[in-house]
Symmetry: D2
Subunit: 336 residues, 4 copies
């Protein structure tokens, strides 16, 4: 029996940028290194990022992915230090995505790119995307650079409350996607380019940022806010107990309304993007709960066939399989 799926960490990049990068080996090398990948890996990926009608759709058809929620690939606009440039880039990306969603509204939905260099502008753009373009949430790629590549803002910082409030009021989730750590943190990965990106560094940076949100009280200030983490939670779920135990012993100045497991029950979701692991899924079910887990591939960085075949056969109940494969996402995102 075919298992319908919805996937929500599926990336694109505009054709112009793809062509520009692929036409310049230095740029390809820079972009690849920035993503913690090798140019030989990234080249075919780039082609797939720009495709909306060919291989992407065929892979969805072949593997039962009824709807893919698309997002501008990392780092999105997060690395642009000028607020206006970022706003323009976000607008362009969202309008481009809106065109694709409009062409195939039954197959594609959209996560907005938001220029968090200016949180108010980001809130406004999110509102435009949701109300006018019919988007279902936002995709944010880790910290936003401030001033230069060495400096950043993290989203528990008070200036981002306007953005979180907007997302909560609009009733749409925000997907906190990885990007590599700030350069200042590079020593621990020195001589290990293979650890910078998805293999490891993405996870620790993103889990740390997510924990900042929780311990920084974002979900106490915005109890209805929904945030999504990929990769089955970037390593957070297995450490929930220890983190809570140690926090309770040394909270410093932080006070929380709830426990970490309660924030996962009320505010956080995880997807299976790029983490097609039975054990990690079982751990997520036992810490986050199947209601808060959603299938995703991480196209084109991870393999659609592998992801789909895995969720179809994972050692879980049929009840949970259906929710994880499509039920939770359709419900959370109002996809019907």
């Amino acid at each position: 029996m075919a298992l319908g799926k919805v996937a929500l960490e599926e990336h694109f990049l505009d054709r112009n940028t793809v062509d520009r990068v692929l036409g310049d080996p230095d740029e390809l090398a820079r972009v690849s290194a920035g993503g913690g990948v090798m140019p030989s890996y990234y080249e075919p990926i780039m082609h797939r990022l720009a495709d909306f009608d060919g291989e992407r759709l065929r892979a969805m058809d072949e593997h039962g992915i009824e709807c893919a929620v698309l997002s501008l690939t990392a780092p999105g606009v997060q690395r642009l230090t000028d607020a206006e440039t970022a706003a323009a880039a976000a607008l362009a990306a969202n309008d481009l995505l809106a065109e694709q969603v409009e062409r195939r509204p039954d197959r594609y939905a959209g996560f907005a790119t938001v220029p968090l260099q200016d949180p108010s502008a980001a809130a406004d753009e999110l509102g435009r995307c949701v109300r006018e373009l019919g988007f279902v949430g936002a995709m944010v790629n880790g910290y936003t650079n401030v001033g230069d590549a060495e400096h950043a803002a993290y989203y528990d910082e008070p200036e981002f409350d306007v953005f979180w409030r907007a997302a909560a009021d609009l009733g749409v989730p925000v997907y906190l996607h990885p990007r590599p750590a700030l350069p200042g943190a590079g020593r621990v990965l020195e001589d290990h380019p293979e650890m910078v990106g998805a293999t490891w560094g993405f996870g620790t940076e993103t889990a740390t940022h997510a924990l900042r949100l929780v311990l920084g009280g974002v979900f106490d200030r915005h109890p209805d806010l929904q945030v999504v983490l990929g990769h089955l939670g970037e390593g957070l779920p297995a450490m929930l107990w220890r983190t809570q135990y140690c926090f309770d012993l040394n909270p410093f100045d932080k006070r929380l309304d709830k426990t970490l497991p309660e924030y996962f029950a009320d505010n956080l979701h995880v997807t299976t993007s790029g983490n097609f692991s039975d054990q990690a899924l079982i751990n997520a079910i036992l810490t986050v709960g199947a209601d808060r887990i959603m299938f995703s591939v991480d196209y084109p960085y991870a393999d659609t066939a592998m992801a789909a075949e895995w969720i179809e056969r994972a050692p879980i109940s049929e009840s949970d399989r259906r929710k994880i494969a499509h039920g939770n996402a359709r419900s959370l995102l109002g996809l019907g």
Copy 2:
């Protein structure tokens, strides 16, 4: 039926240092901040660190801990930048510990403090501790500072081969214990002192360092080497699949003889220190295997009663409970 236990992440500090720190509020504040804890938390801890005959032993008696393998508390000698100072400090700590072990050889065993500022000296001191003092391995607290607090060495770097070879030849494990990340990585934890230490930062730093060892080929060069991680693996076990998947796609210049799960089967162990979580234990059993999991408390930073009661009732088989509680440690450390 009483479940005998062996615990192996149980720390001490010499009475002089404890008195000095406790006698100087600034020093207590500095040391506390360095460990990511509050002075109010650390003060009673310090008293317990210096105790060998009172509360420590009573807690062991009450909770079935037959033997505790003691180690100098973090950061040990890792933060001393002068090699000779470090060597002297290590020697003093080891001799002090040896006295305690000799007084109670049936209750205490020793992990050596090793001055990795000079890997050869560290190898020699480890040899002395094992052959002359009867110690059962080494405890290393993350990176060793080089020159100043901003700079460090990580142990997959080639100069440490002499140390790993010594440990492998001596047939004793090396426990890679946490310490906070280098200051350069501090931005991501800014305004979150509560995340610097055990609550979060310890884990990401240590898991990253452990993964450096694996991907840096330490276990290929030293196939018999055994390394122990605390806190049920510092978050690594739940991410093994993804890390392997992504590494296979982008290995860069790294080539490994084995898969990550195989390194956990052959070279890595985890303890339960400060992570008395059923779900994390189940995840460890399904990724690392109960043969490679050992009970520990993390005394005096975590609660002995909580740890002991948890392992006695955790939802695992009796066969595994016995191995985890004492069997694996007695076997690995030759405790008999």
Copy 3:
């Protein structure tokens, strides 16, 4: 934070019967043996069965059980061989229960006793109980005797379709509760009175009966029918894979519309009654799914405090804990 609970395998017996049994040692012995228990165990149980205002309610208050769905204790009316006697007994039990539910409608709900000696009459009585008395389903204690204690009817047999249709049409679940196997099956338990009842025999008999329902096509004929099993599924969930595999190899004359896991997703539920096991719960979550698991105690046969404390601390997500503790039951039974 107090975890509200709903429990749905909570039994009663009318005061008259209790007094009669307790007043006659032979009768107490007979009833005890019939339930696979020792008279010394059953005597205090009997007192608790007849109580509605004292200990039962206090235990509920103390342990957060907001609502208990009550049912006539096993074997209910299943052992009465005369249809009219059974119908009268069922009516009396239901009217007695209705009085109690009416006195405390916020604390008690009712499962109907149904005289399956005459399936049409059982359907009618169920309808009366649901529509007029506000009951939320039926409790059936295994097979119904036919003619004598040696002979029985099982509910996949065609004459029971009228009853299943009624339950499905009324939109209420039927709880299939244990009773011991028929006397003809007694050899395998000879000299093992301790295995006759809850310790073992209840489980195999009930799981077998439940599997008869599935393989006999009851859920294909009545796709909306909901059946509840206690004791985390009487052993069925852990054997689902093997049962399906072997059935597929040798289906004989049976043809099913769905797979066993699908019947658990669509038609079957389990409760935690008398099975406060982390491992069995985890297995149920991974085979049945947390949406289909509901808390229950099995009062007064199992301990309320043990049950409540267990579900509050079981190694599962908060999201699932809430559903299992009360969410699923409130939803399934329309308790609001």
Copy 4:
């Protein structure tokens, strides 16, 4: 990396019997019904039962099964009511198997058929098989008929102590394999021929018999005795908690030295025969422990390829995978 395997529930039948049964449709029908299978399923099975050099070996080669421990297929000699006939049949089967083991000692090992109609004779034959033929244990197919097909003996009954003592003294395990329940228990499976055998009835009968052994004190009288159950424990592991809880409440006349989980740690093992289920394996790991779980296929009744591919990929640690695939069996059976 090829995962070597040992399988220990792998059956044979002598060529004469196979030819006789296949040459007589009524006999094939009778034998099939007796095993709860359809003749169309059993016919090719029968051919495979008699093969030692062809398909059996090729399947082992292709799927990494280094060694298969062979046993006479159920019901073995258990249904023969005359002790001398049973003894002669056992002897013949053992001698036939010994020939095959001698031809391929690196690929085949033997479980003895034992004529439990006369427990002393069974003990003697087991001794002969172990000491003279080099067999590694015994395979027993449920109860032994006494007098006729309606009556049987179960092995906790005192007359079998001589046999258990022999097995314990010889240091070899006894595999308790299924057979269908006694005819007297047939009502619960009436009209469900598909439930009589492996699909369901095998499991309940065998689990019940195994529990008789435990509660009947066999392992208290013979603390070194090792008994193996197939099919991941025939449903017992998931019910251990409840069985213990209820037994403690109503032990009747039974007193045990240990708890059920302790008997699984000290005396009982399970194999994966015919139960290639991730969830059931996880449950077994958490209740029985990976040290007590061994790979098996149940050849030719279950599919070798399915079994082998499953254990190679099951969501468990590499450490446990190796033990389950071959390590535990080599150790338990002294296969080296």
